[in-house]
């Protein structure tokens, strides 16, 4: 028996069905607000990821969102490969933690976050200029500065060796709990200290390879001389007196460094400090944290402090991680809500605590958390790490060049290569011509 449905019957059935659906009570399920996936930086501090997971779960519970977190290591640049692959596929995580230059590199695929950055700045204070430089394109905020993974790579000195060999009391210069008395801590005195420690058999461990630690340190020193390879407008400014001065400074410095620094990577300086062979390295407190575990007698003598002052000021290398939301994310509202939650002062304090003081918030009001004052031994060793009195210009190597050009200068380690070339005997002008040609090559769009 065949039964046909008339047009009238179909319309009536559809209307009735719709009415039932509309009038039904809304049942809020466990994950009513959808799903959210995120790729966060895999922290090297044991347990730091757990605190981040707990904060995300706490938010997910409240907002009824199903969350999935991938912790992506930066070892072997796996995080960079993930970013490139997801940008190509236009698919992947909703939120991705990007290092330094990557928000600008993928700006076209990133959701603007002005609507959350402006309230966060009101809540936590302004962000430093490096965050603005890396996280903002014109008026468009591309990213929220992540507490997790952000770091200053300032000096970590041996208290005993600096006192004995260079006659510098780093604890008195950067006292825990009060403002630094570092007027005498200049590039020239830094050089004298490097020479004294070299003579004493404990050279400063500053790399001149092609990895970030080497590039960051060289970049900060260059900026302290006002030496920019490319200016903010994109003009090549290699052949200037400031660059010549910076190059000359580095040539003098390199004479007091270990002879193999041209081959150093980001682990070399850590090993240099932990093994007790050096009086100073430029690093976030990861080296000190490893020493605390593996060589406590060395850790007890470590003191993290500010950079020396050059003719154009005191510049400290700052490397932020930035949380971004892909424009192809399917749950942007939830993603923004989570980033706001992770940037609340309480959340930031928990993240800093979990990392043992390594992670740095970029907001001005969050640089005096108790973790940095209390961490030790020696107590107060990290007090000056977040630059609590804002006496340094937090900067990144190759700035103020437009970020897409600066990324090339940075990734290809043009600054450290210049230093090595000149130190190895290449005439200054030839080195400058080489660097100028390199920078011109970075201009392609």
């Amino acid at each position: 028996m065949s039964k046909t449905l008339s047009r009238r019957q179909f319309v009536a059935a559809t209307a009735a069905g719709s009415a039932v659906l509309i009038s039904s009570p809304y049942i809020r399920t466990a994950y009513a607000a959808g799903k959210l996936t995120m790729g966060f930086w895999d922290h090297w501090v044991p347990g730091a990821n757990n605190t981040c997971t707990a904060l995300v779960n706490e938010w997910a519970e409240k907002e009824k969102v199903e969350v999935s977190i991938d912790y992506i290591t930066s070892q072997g640049n796996k995080n960079l490969l993930t970013i490139a692959a997801e940008a190509q596929a236009k698919s992947g995580h909703d939120i991705l933690a990007m290092p330094t230059w990557w928000p600008h590199a993928y700006a076209d695929n990133i959701e603007p976050v002005n609507d959350i950055m402006e309230p966060l700045i009101k809540l936590n204070g302004d962000v430093n200029n490096t965050v603005k430089y890396l996280g903002k394109q014109g008026d468009k905020w591309l990213a929220v500065p992540a507490t997790v993974g952000s770091q200053i790579k300032g000096p970590c000195s041996r208290i005993d060796l600096m006192k004995k060999l260079a006659n510098i009391d780093v604890q008195a210069m950067y006292p825990a709990g009060s403002e630094p008395k570092a007027d005498e801590w200049t590039n020239e005195n830094f050089l004298k200290a490097a020479e004294a420690c070299h003579k004493g058999g404990f050279p400063f461990g500053i790399g001149l390879g092609e990895t970030t630690d080497s590039v960051d340190t060289a970049g900060a020193f260059f900026q302290s001389f006002g030496a920019d390879l490319v200016d903010a407008k994109g003009n090549v400014t290699v052949k200037t007196d400031a660059v010549r001065q910076a190059l000359d400074f580095y040539k003098r410095l390199m004479a007091f460094l270990p002879p193999d620094v041209t081959a150093w990577d980001d682990a070399s300086n850590n090993k240099w400090l932990v093994s007790g062979r050096g009086a100073l390295i430029m690093n976030p407190p990861s080296a000190w944290a490893v020493a605390k575990r593996d060589a406590p007698q060395i850790a007890e003598q470590c003191w993290t402090h500010g950079m020396p002052k050059g003719p154009k000021g005191r510049f400290a290398p700052f490397l932020p991680f930035l949380w971004t939301i892909w424009s192809f994310s399917k749950n942007k509202a939830a993603a923004k809500s989570l980033l706001v939650h992770l940037s609340q002062p309480d959340s930031v304090a928990k993240l800093v605590q979990a990392s043992g003081g390594y992670d740095l918030p970029s907001f001005a009001n969050l640089t005096k958390l108790k973790t940095w004052a209390e961490e030790g031994p020696p107590k107060g060793t990290l007090f000056s790490y977040p630059d609590p009195y804002h006496l340094q210009t937090l900067s990144i190597a190759a700035s103020p060049a437009p970020p897409k050009i600066a990324q090339q200068i940075y990734a290809q380690a043009t600054i450290t290569k210049m230093c090595v070339r000149h130190f190895q005997g290449e005439p200054m002008e030839k080195t400058l011509s080489w660097a100028e040609s390199e920078c011109e090559g970075f201009m392609r769009s």
């Binding site: 490139a84 041209t262 062979r277 990734a411 392609r444 769009s445």
Partner: protein, 311 residues
Amino acid sequence: MVDVAIQPNRATRTGTRRRTSLRNALKRKSTAAFLMTLPLIILVAVLVIYPAFYSLHLAMLNKSMQRYVGLSNFTFLFTRETFWLVVKQSCIFAITAVIFKALIGFIVAHFVHNIPAKGQRKWRGMLLVPWVIPPAMSTLGWLWLFDPSYSAFNYTLSFFGIGPIPWTGDANWARFSVILVNVWYGMPFFMIMYLASLKSVPDQLYEAAAIDGANWWQRIWYVTLPMMRNIIAITTLFSLIVTFANFDIVRILTAGGPIDKTHIFATWAFKLGIESSDIPLGASVSLFMVPILAVAAIFILRDVNKRGNES
């Protein structure tokens, strides 16, 4: 007219003919062979042909990947000093490493060939160890041996009053180090191929040569080498391709440093494409290997074919 006459049964007959021809086609050995290799063909298409064309497509985009720029990326590279440095280094790296791998592999294969059959398996197994360890792992071991500040080699050499040698800090030593590790890793492949080839040389040829009064060198030159020529050519070609495309050893050991003096195509492509976010330029650099290897392949395979036809 005939067609019109048989029209009513045409559909049925065509259908039957199709079924028959399909059955016949399936019965054919070549069809069965094709179907059995189809999964592999699909795999190659997905994992090799598609990425190859995709990288070609990428290499023709501008830096922000929004505009087609034709061959501009390639012409741009020609103007860069570092590019020519990389070309030179890739050639030095690949050619030197392949020559030493072939030479040492040939010598070691002879040694192993002359070991009595009973103990030979043990030696073959041991000599293959470098080749079976993932190179990323073994290179990490080498990295510790060459470590700038804590090199185990330098520690040992210090007992003889030598060093410290800047294994990865000086351009020439760094080049030596990456080539050494590549030779260490790739030599067993040559050894095992040459050993197989040596075993297939008929003993009668050596006996005849001995009767003719040939010495050791003459036996190698007039018997062994001509008999191994094809396998030497194929092995060299294969190794040249793999060595030119090497990434892990250089990346782990020197990352292209110091001052770019050990960069080869793959490591520089990674530096540009991934670390500098310039994927089109990185793709262009990696594609430069294709013409170089294609020329090498044409010459070597032409030679192999020629000798195949002669025999």
